[in-house]
Symmetry: C2
Subunit: 328 residues, 2 copies
Amino acid sequence: MATIRDVAKEAGVSVATVSRVMNGSGYAHEDTRKAVMAAVEKLNYKPNEVARSLYKRKSKLVGLILPDITNPFFPEMARGVEDYLQQFGYRLIFGNSDEKRDKEIEYIDTFLQNNVVGMIASTSEEANENFDNLEIPVVLLDRTAEKLPAVYSDQKTGGKLAARVLLDRGSSNIVLIRGPVEIKPVFERYKAALEELTLAKVNVQVMDSSLTLQGGQACVEKLFELYPETDGIIACNDIVAAAALQEILKRGIRIPEDIQLIGYDDIAFTTLLHPPLSTIRQPAYEMGAQAAELLIKKINQEKIEETHKKLPVSFVERETTRRKAEKP
Amino acid sequence: MATIRDVAKEAGVSVATVSRVMNGSGYAHEDTRKAVMAAVEKLNYKPNEVARSLYKRKSKLVGLILPDITNPFFPEMARGVEDYLQQFGYRLIFGNSDEKRDKEIEYIDTFLQNNVVGMIASTSEEANENFDNLEIPVVLLDRTAEKLPAVYSDQKTGGKLAARVLLDRGSSNIVLIRGPVEIKPVFERYKAALEELTLAKVNVQVMDSSLTLQGGQACVEKLFELYPETDGIIACNDIVAAAALQEILKRGIRIPEDIQLIGYDDIAFTTLLHPPLSTIRQPAYEMGAQAAELLIKKINQEKIEETHKKLPVSFVERETTRRKAEKP
DNA sequence: AGCTATTGTGTAAACGGTTACACAAAATTA
DNA sequence: TAATTTTGTGTAACCGTTTACACAATAGCT
């Protein structure tokens, strides 16, 4: 790889001059500018980001921590941030935390050691003290905290909405599948749904599940043994809903006639399920993009009107819920 | 952030000594070692990777280029490489190429500018000359080329296998959905399947589709208009197969009685489809992990027995294909 | 022409590590 | 005890940029 010194020699100028024309900073005579660019071209010179980063004490790298890219909800987000950042020449150092504090800390440390210019993270709640005394901007994604800017979605409305959908469409023996309580957004949607259901004085059962397929299957296997009269299920996410759907089909229960089912997230494959899954949509890509936007504003020290962006969720009506009776 | 100089001052030694005890290189008296470690502890010193990387001319970063993390096949791979590399302290700079040459080149350039120690890439075929004269190790993933080490799966056997499955189970009017021909592995599986089908003197139709849901739906919409007598479909991947499945169901065709369907990849949600999708499995996670393993060997200049690892595929029998008649 | 701005360029000191080298002190050997 | 080897430590150069500063040349004013 050619260095700035090679270019300087080739162009017959000093390294400072090369640097200036590369960055368009300071003065440079048109002739020397041309000479430098010719040398750059000839040697195919690309400035070494590492050296630049060392001097400037900040790189063009952004750290991204997501719980698990294997869950289809997160790749959407990741692309949202990547696509947005890319326009500004930022690159991503990426790590999966598996919601584990240790991994998170490890990644934060290496991000810092690599002079990242900022970080975007879906951090487990208790851990975000790890981000507290950083001197670089951090934005939380799909999670919130007082002290840090955040982009997330309206879990409370989402949870309520899921409950309302089943209620309005006539379910009265509802199983609410609660995801891991440590995961704040998941817990919030659960809480909101439970509240709505409780208010409705309907028969409610709560079951626990992880957010994975295996967890969902394990949960749902017991569901009908425990609560055979169930006529509505609110799942903690689409994956678990898909597991439930499968169990429902296996048992020959008619959906949505005998039982209604609603998921959460609206990941890509929900539309491919049979019947297609009704769900609460979180705008994952958009969330990622907005987090990136916020981060860039922070990096550029722009004034930020709102540091906490709560994006709206919506009910995506498909075929695991009944049509709501029209008003006459 | 504390620097090595701060630590040196705190411990009352020179920076060289601090460096030596941090790296366990050269001599260091036990007492001074302790003093240094105490200072490190006290100041919470973490060596700056950027400075280290500048001097050594290689970082602890590995570049990863994948076509599109939004396709569930790739996150599996990505985790395979991340999980493996993580043990050795390497981190990932990540980029989606969308199979676009420009994006690929852009990422390669920035990877290089950041002194990555190696790269793993699913590169579009024609573009991999971009990797040719690099002085760092590169391993291809899910793609192959003569000159570069590669980890991929046995597309030829996979394609053949898919065809054999339908053939052996009695389909005789088969539509073969071909993915984008520029994507080598996708083309290869197509070619192998076509060959097998042709040999069988069965009625074959070829249709084109992208690898996405939208593409699959568009293709499959026309399928039954064009070829109403179809009794077997080989899809270019699971996503397209899922689209086909949906169309089949919509049309009230019985599966697998009237028509058989087989996908490719075995991504996570295939098991959730109704009926669960029979498919050809590629060991995506394992492929990622092995690519990482190969890369690390390259980095450490270990001797490598085989630079081209072709991993086996397998038929995952689920419910969109009939049971094969048992031998008596 | 003489003076002041403006423009153009180079030198050298950072940035925060690693390491070659020099040298001193301690341990080992004869 | 003297010579030699081993151990322990510091100084300074280097990695490839950026930029403060100095200074020269040119341009723009009276």
